[in-house]
């Protein structure tokens, strides 16, 4: 079942007008703040009533302004994970988790409390109140509460935004599991390219209330038209397999016929990963460089040169590891005499690949 959304709305001078499809798996609504992400997710939830539009999950209509239909939020069968958790402070963790179950139709309670508690590792918290939990614990309970409502759609509005880096790493794997284990669409709002690269099955890039691009994470993040999202957002996503961990703090990954060296990744050898390499962090050379500190030098062929606005352009280079993207100035591209089809070398500094750019989920798409 996939979720199809078409809606338009206006707040003051801001005009929202979007149409997109969220297939099963995790669809990230990606954009800067003010791009309309939260308005879209709240329209799907029924917390905001857009001026016009149509929202359907499979053949089940949630809203259709053409015939005046708009289900109230409590009849939309949602699991909404909010940025701030929004746990009920007067209820225990167990009561919070079971809150949605009272209202789920009998026979549609798919999730079992014990299983969800085990998956999220919150067994020790059941008797406690939200006021005594850490930020990461609260978000895990919020995920569990949403799951136990037996939703047909999961919504998540920047669920990691209020957490520090360490807590983000604690929560991200749970979203990877939801993506891989559930058969319902997950709509996930984010402004982080790293989260997109790690989690997204599908990306809908938004800017100024419109859809800039939609598709797989690799195709959207590799599209220079999403550059308004931030120069660091553009990058390639390379599927790779962990080969070995070395004593000097590096992990060796096989990507196609190439080897990549990264700061140690927390996954065992043999594990398939997605590695995001930001276009910002890739240099190109026309000859094989020597005496260079960078460990990752990949030979390839220029596939395409896309000129954006300003001094920059994006070069895609086909290598044995997959297609890499490099962001250069027009002047450097001219100096190197780069043209489509010309051979070149792509250089990636090992330390440029941050831990949040590596994901260990099973679903390696794009």
């Amino acid at each position: 079942m996939s979720l199809s959304v078409a809606l338009s709305h206006r707040f003051g001078n801001f005009e929202l007008d979007v149409t997109f499809e969220a297939p099963p798996g995790l669809t990230v609504l990606f954009g800067r703040s003010g791009s309309g992400k939260t308005s879209i997710i709240n329209s799907v939830a029924g917390l905001l009533r857009p001026r016009s539009g149509r929202i359907a999950a499979g053949d089940w209509l949630l809203m259709d302004s053409a015939n005046g239909l708009s289900l109230p939020p409590h009849r939309r069968r949602l699991g909404y994970i909010f940025q701030e958790g929004r746990l009920f402070p007067h209820l225990t963790v167990r009561q919070n988790l079971l809150y949605g179950r009272w209202f789920a139709p009998k026979g549609e309670t798919r999730e079992d409390l014990g299983r969800v508690v085990d998956m999220l590792g919150i067994g020790a918290l059941l008797g406690r109140r939200p006021g005594t939990l850490s930020g990461g614990e609260k978000q895990r309970v919020a995920i569990g509460r949403a799951l136990l409502a037996s939703p047909r759609i999961i919504l998540a509005d920047e669920p990691l935004a209020s957490l520090d880096e360490a807590r983000k790493d604690e929560i991200l794997p749970y979203f990877e599991r939801l993506r891989d284990e559930l058969s319902i669409p997950i709509l996930y709002v984010s402004h982080s390219a790293a989260e997109v690269a790690r989690l997204a099955t599908t990306v809908v890039a938004l800017g100024d209330g419109r859809v800039l691009a939609q598709g797989t994470a690799a195709s959207v993040l590799g599209d220079p038209t999403v550059a308004p999202l931030g120069v660091r957002a553009v990058g390639a996503i390379i599927p790779a397999t962990v080969v070995a961990h070395h004593d000097d703090g590096l992990s060796e990954l096989a990507a196609g016929n190439e080897r990549l060296f990264l700061p140690t990744v927390p996954y065992p050898p043999g594990r398939r990963l997605r590695v995001r390499i930001s276009a910002h962090e890739v240099m190109l050379a026309s000859k094989k460089p020597e005496g260079l500190s960078a460990l990752n030098v990949l030979s390839g062929v220029v596939e395409q040169i896309r000129v954006g606005e300003g001094p920059g352009l994006i070069v895609s280079v086909r290598t044995d590891a997959g297609t890499l993207l490099a962001r250069l100035t027009k002047r450097s591209a001219a100096n190197l005499e780069l043209a489509e089809g010309s051979p070149c070398f792509a250089i990636v500094k090992t330390v440029a690949i941050a831990p949040e750019d590596v994901s260990g989920g099973a679903a390696v798409s794009g």
Binding site: A45, G46, L47, P72, P73, H74, R75, R76, R77, L78, G79, Y80, F82, E84, R86, F88, P89, H90, T92, Y99, G100, W102, F103, A104, R128, R129, P130, G131, T132, R145, A146, A149, L155
Partner: protein
């Protein structure tokens, strides 16, 4: 030891009874009005707000007279209710009505403030989990505003205990029927040698008022701690 004469004791019991019922009956309405004022946008909202606050500002004698006009046996509402067997005029129920009306603004104000302090985002979260609006109110909003509701109810009770002007105007001062403690104190002060009786009732008044205030503080604190979950 007979430390209260039967007449004094009757007044104390009547005051407790009228105040208890005034508070209990007006509480659901008070919660509803407070919720509507705190959460809903509707035409006439300011009018409703003004109407609720009016007894606080009007001279009590005016409120009492208006009640007499409306709920007296010949009044538009009073005559209607009389056909249904409900009589307010010159009965203890009338004293309870007057006390309830006079205490209503305080009750609504306390409850409204506590409802406004509840984050509507929590109510939205309840709705997204499948709870209809009434359920969200019962399981999220009401427990969270419980300290305010208790404080409002006790405040209203204490105010009802002290009600005098509207009561004596509306239902007069009939011993055993409508002579509450303040009316009794007033009556005792009008007769020679009644000072001692008046003084005993004054002491009881002060005691009950203080006890109500302390109790409301204590209970509200306890409940607030329970709600916060520590």
């Amino acid at each position: 030891m007979e430390w209260l004469s039967p007449a004094e004791w009757t007044a104390v019991a009547l005051s407790l009874r009228t105040s208890f019922w005034a508070t209990l009956v007006s509480l659901p309405l008070g919660i509803f009005v407070a919720y509507a004022l705190a959460r809903w946008q509707f035409p006439g909202k300011q009018l409703l707000n003004g109407l609720v606050l009016l007894p606080l500002i009007l001279p009590p004698v005016v409120t009492g007279y208006l009640l007499l006009l409306a709920f007296g046996t010949r009044g538009p509402i009073g005559s209607l209710l009389q056909d249904m067997g409900i009589v307010f005029a010159f009965r203890w129920t009338g004293a309870a009505l007057a006390a309830g009306v006079m205490a209503f603004p305080l009750m609504v104000r306390a409850i409204r403030l506590s409802i406004e302090a509840v984050d509507p985002k929590l109510e939205q979260a309840g709705a997204t989990l499948g709870a209809p609006r009434a359920w969200v109110f019962l399981t999220v909003t009401l427990p969270l505003v419980l300290p305010g509701v208790i404080a409002g109810a006790i405040l209203a009770f204490a105010k009802a205990m002290g009600e005098f002007g509207a009561t004596i105007t509306f239902v007069s001062n009939i011993p055993g029927q409508t002579q509450t403690m303040p009316s009794a104190i007033y009556a005792f002060l009008q007769i020679p040698g009644g000072d001692a009786s008046a003084l005993r009732l004054v002491v009881i008044s002060v005691f009950i008022a203080m006890a109500a205030l302390l109790l409301s503080e204590l209970v509200a604190k306890r409940v607030a701690r329970w709600v916060a979950g520590s």
